[in-house]
Symmetry: C2
Subunit: 600 residues, 2 copies
């Protein structure tokens, strides 16, 4: 059976020692969240995740969701667990207290999301989508809409959904067919079918607020003619009580590879009453608010599943006895040594460890920048945070989910044949983590967003928000006797990232297919350097702490070893990525479409 | 729904144009298999795979195997399909006619295995294990044993199994506990429990021949005290008819991530009658005969699932309309362009294509060398074939299955969110292909076999059997105007493989942990160069054919484009692998075992 303990020690290291969030008490979200409160909230969150939600992970996968007559029943225990989770105020943790949120920092919400997804990804999706939908209402709704919908969503009495995809359009939302007919009273009547709607129907709450993209007839064609609507499952009376059932019904749920306890619904809207959210035909703008937050959340899922898989693999590697150490017998009293003595098992565990801790640091840094964006008193800091978020969102989503999937597979590999057997739980992490590479924009789309939209925007300002701090760190530390060699290793890969950027700028401008052909390798190169930057900084903190003296030396020494592993054993991939992408598009684009089937 | 068409055109290219198997009519297996017969057999095999076996793949996964009272029922249609398959003589295709085999070349059997596993991996395992078990009896059995067991196994009236693993020992077979008590009549009584027994019980044939590793009491401890036994499900009378039920019973079947239609059994041996196969305490030697063949077979599974996933992805990429080409609208009559116009989709398809065609060539070359080993009149050729097989078996098993898994994931990624939905079939290929990295020795074990056993053996003779032909090709072709640039790209990566080999020889000799730490990266580097070698050779054939004139130019031009893609976009990974492995073991081995859990 897999094990999970929230990585509280590591959260404290990143939040207090690396990011030093205590410095930001001048931001509203931090005003009432000094370090000891942050730690206390994380400890409470850890308990909920470890004791309430994690125990339902494997049983939820085995049982899955049930569909009958338009209704979805979640697996045993989910409803009760959701009630506890809801009561704890976790859904509105980082939301505006004006509408019932807890008003705590986003960086804390980031840590909580990581723990939630480690404990039970299926379970997390219901609350995760609710936060996303609430954010869109918060950002684009009228004051009345906010007062009506946000408190019960932040409080988890109601959940929310995002309705974008139709069977013939996922990536290309301009092909959308769902219609919204304006009514005399200012409302709309929505008709159409949406697919892949996470939490579109379930039995854990009394109402579900669907955000639905649809076309108002007569508007522009393509993506510029799409508007966003609020469509509640039960209409809401003025006093907040529930009125009649709306014309939206779940047609079926999908049988999926994983996240089986998360209901993935086909939603049929049949003359359903809906209310415009934001401006007509500007639905994509409102949706993007939600999608950017969701992309960061999905990125974290990769980290989360890597973490729980890692922990389970460490336990197994210490317990499982096979063979003897190449350096001589380590456990003479046992029939064989634990497999953690073998270098190849170490390689696997170190790879997972280097990813999870590096990703945690990067994710929390990005989370902190969301706090800066929404509440920093200095306009320049807000602008810089916005730029950093713009460029980091697709990188984090694609790199974390690709690496998370790799990590869950490594964790499974540590178990040998047992990893393939369901009762051990390791293959569930593989199946569950696989979705994160696909939803919220498949990773190829993230890469295109990075090279096609984020890089060229604002004359490269987004890029500078990441490049400048990396460059500064390298300049300041390359001669440092403690971490100079790590800074030099980072510099080498950072140089490759700069070369790749220059190559794309030069070739992509005249031929967008060159940028498209380079996109995925570029995004991965970016992600590798981003985590390298975090590892170099973490090593510096660790070195300084050790030099100053600490009674937790083993923790900091492990950081130094893992940083070295990252530089020596992970980061070198940047060299082959640069070679690949600068080879250009020719060998990709030369074949006729028919030629792909010619071997048969 | 996935599609599968046997890649007959590509088989003909590799067999006749690249390997020129027509030259080997002096070998017994080829004497009655001139090129036209080979093609006819492949066409027949393709029909069985496409029409009989493939249609049961998805339904078999959905239904799975049923277990009740010690009996296993295979999914609907399996029994009837097995009867057809059996009657076609496919199981004994490459086996000795003296005992009922078809006597056709191994290289043909290799192609057939590829098709079978593409069509339905679960189904293939029953026949595949039978071939493996029969091979062990053929190689180590007495004449009586061969006459008794081989004809019904080659004929598929009976199937076979391999019983190695026990719950506490998989990799470390020296820990084995199953016992074999000698009886007065020369037989043995076997008692113990084995796990992960593929096809240990099922309803498709009348008898199952278990090969079981067990200890004869009083023998040496450890791996040198293990013997191999034949334990039939039903005892066999002297006239070949079936006698009484033996004391071997299936205790349960595993719930697995994939290959759900393949029964994975816990087998309880309770005083079961068994017969020594080969010499006492030399069971591992006999088992290795079977395991080497099985490892090549498992390697092919990676290729097979990549192939069927690739074909389905190509179909989808041509059908699915999303977005417009970056080079301008390609399908003005449609609402959007097919996604095959997008460079990032091309990148995915080309990666799959480069792997499957390169792996097919390498696999068939290795298959041909099995024919050389067993039947070449020239002793030197036999010796060289043996050396090449020794070094290639772990490379093929690890590299093909790792890359096969990557490829099935790429195929799934081409489908976007639909890839995650079971009915589309793409996620089954991912789940099914995942087992191949684990069974028959997890891939880390393959890598250790390569660096620890195969490299140092015979003063490097194994290695030379691969290095010499690569070196020769490079020398002969680096100045060639047609393929010189490909030969140069190969030379660069081959140089890295040589450097890595030298590094391991130098560092691994004094410190085996250095070799252990380098093993996985080294095996992958080896695999990349091996396929690079095949691509360079295929390109040469294609170039010469085009220069000579052909009415199938598109096929050969696609080979040239794909060879270029391989050199530019796949092979460069060798550079980062060399960096990683020469970094040495330090960052892997520095942490205490306890330190891995310290972040919590």
């Amino acid at each position: 059976m897999p094990t999970y303990q929230a990585p509280l020690r590591d959260f404290r290291f990143v939040l207090h020692e690396l990011l030093q969030v205590g410095k930001y008490q001048n931001l509203p979200a931090f005003a009432e969240a000094p370090p000891d409160i942050i730690d206390a909230v994380l400890e409470e969150g850890a308990k909920v995740c470890e004791e309430v939600i994690f125990p339902l992970n494997q049983s939820g996968d085995e049982e899955g969701c049930h569909f009958e007559n338009g209704e979805v029943r979640t697996p045993q225990g989910f409803k009760e667990a959701f009630e506890l989770y809801r009561q704890g105020g976790w859904i509105g943790l980082s939301s505006d207290p004006e509408y019932g949120g807890q008003g705590l920092p986003q960086v804390l919400g980031t840590a909580m999301t990581e723990m939630m997804c480690s404990a039970n990804l299926s379970f997390e999706t219901y609350g995760g989508l609710t936060s996303g939908a609430a954010l869109a209402i918060y950002s684009h709704g009228t004051e009345d809409q906010k007062r009506q919908y946000l408190p019960p969503m932040y409080g988890g009495q109601w959940t929310g959904t995002m309705n974008l995809t139709e069977s013939h359009c996922g990536t290309d939302l301009g092909l959308m067919r769902t219609k919204a007919e304006p009514q005399a009273d200012g409302s709309y009547r929505i008709t159409g079918t949406k697919i892949f709607i996470t939490g579109g129907e379930h039995d854990m709450v009394e109402n579900i607020i669907h955000l639905v993209l649809a076309r108002i007839p007569g508007g522009p064609s393509g993506i510029g003619g799409v508007s966003l609507f609020i469509v509640p499952k039960f209409l809401v009376n003025d006093d907040g009580t529930l009125g009649q059932r709306n014309g939206v019904l779940c047609g079926s749920i999908e049988k999926k590879m994983g996240i089986k306890a998360s209901s993935t619904c086909v939603m049929n809207f049949d003359d359903a009453e809906g209310y415009l959210l934001g401006e007509p035909h500007k639905g994509m703008r409102a949706m993007f608010t939600m999608m950017n937050a969701a992309r960061l959340g999905v990125g974290l899922q990769g980290l989360s599943l890597a973490e729980v898989s890692y922990q389970s693999a460490v336990t197994y590697a210490n317990d499982r006895l096979q063979g003897r150490s190449l350096a001589g017998i380590q456990a003479p009293d046992k029939a064989a040594d634990p497999i953690i003595v073998h270098p190849d098992v170490r390689r696997m565990l170190m790879q997972m460890k280097a990813f999870t801790e590096g990703a945690r640091a990067f994710g929390l840094w990005i989370g902190l920048n969301i706090d800066f964006l929404s509440g920093h008193p200095d306009a320049e800091m807000r602008e810089e945070a916005e730029a950093l978020l713009a460029v980091s969102t697709p990188v984090l989503k694609a790199y974390f989910t690709d690496s998370g999937f790799e990590a869950t597979n490594i964790g499974m590999q540590c178990y040998g044949g047992h990893g393939y057997i369901r009762e051990w739980g390791m293959e569930q992490f593989v199946r569950d983590s696989r979705i994160a590479q696909l939803y919220e924009g498949a990773n190829g789309i993230q890469a295109l967003d990075l090279v096609g939209r984020k890089l060229p925007a604002h004359m490269g300002r987004n890029l500078r928000a990441f490049f400048h701090p990396v460059d500064r760190f390298i300049q300041e530390n390359m001669a440092d006797p403690g971490v100079g060699n790590l800074a030099m290793a980072l510099a080498k890969s950072f140089g490759r990232l700069q070369s790749a950027t220059a190559w794309i700028a030069e070739n992509g401008l005249t031929d967008p297919e060159q940028a498209g052909a380079a996109a995925t390798d570029y995004a991965r190169l970016f992600g590798l350097v981003a985590l390298g930057f975090m590892w170099a900084q973490m090593a510096k903190v660790a070195r300084e702490t050790l030099d100053a003296g600490t009674d937790d030396a083993a923790f900091y020494e492990a950081k130094l070893v893992t940083a070295r592993f990252y530089m020596e054993r992970v980061l070198p991939e940047t060299s082959s990525l640069l070679s690949k992408l600068t080879a250009g598009k020719e060998s990709l684009m030369a074949l006729d479409a028919e030629a792909f089937a010619r071997a048969q």
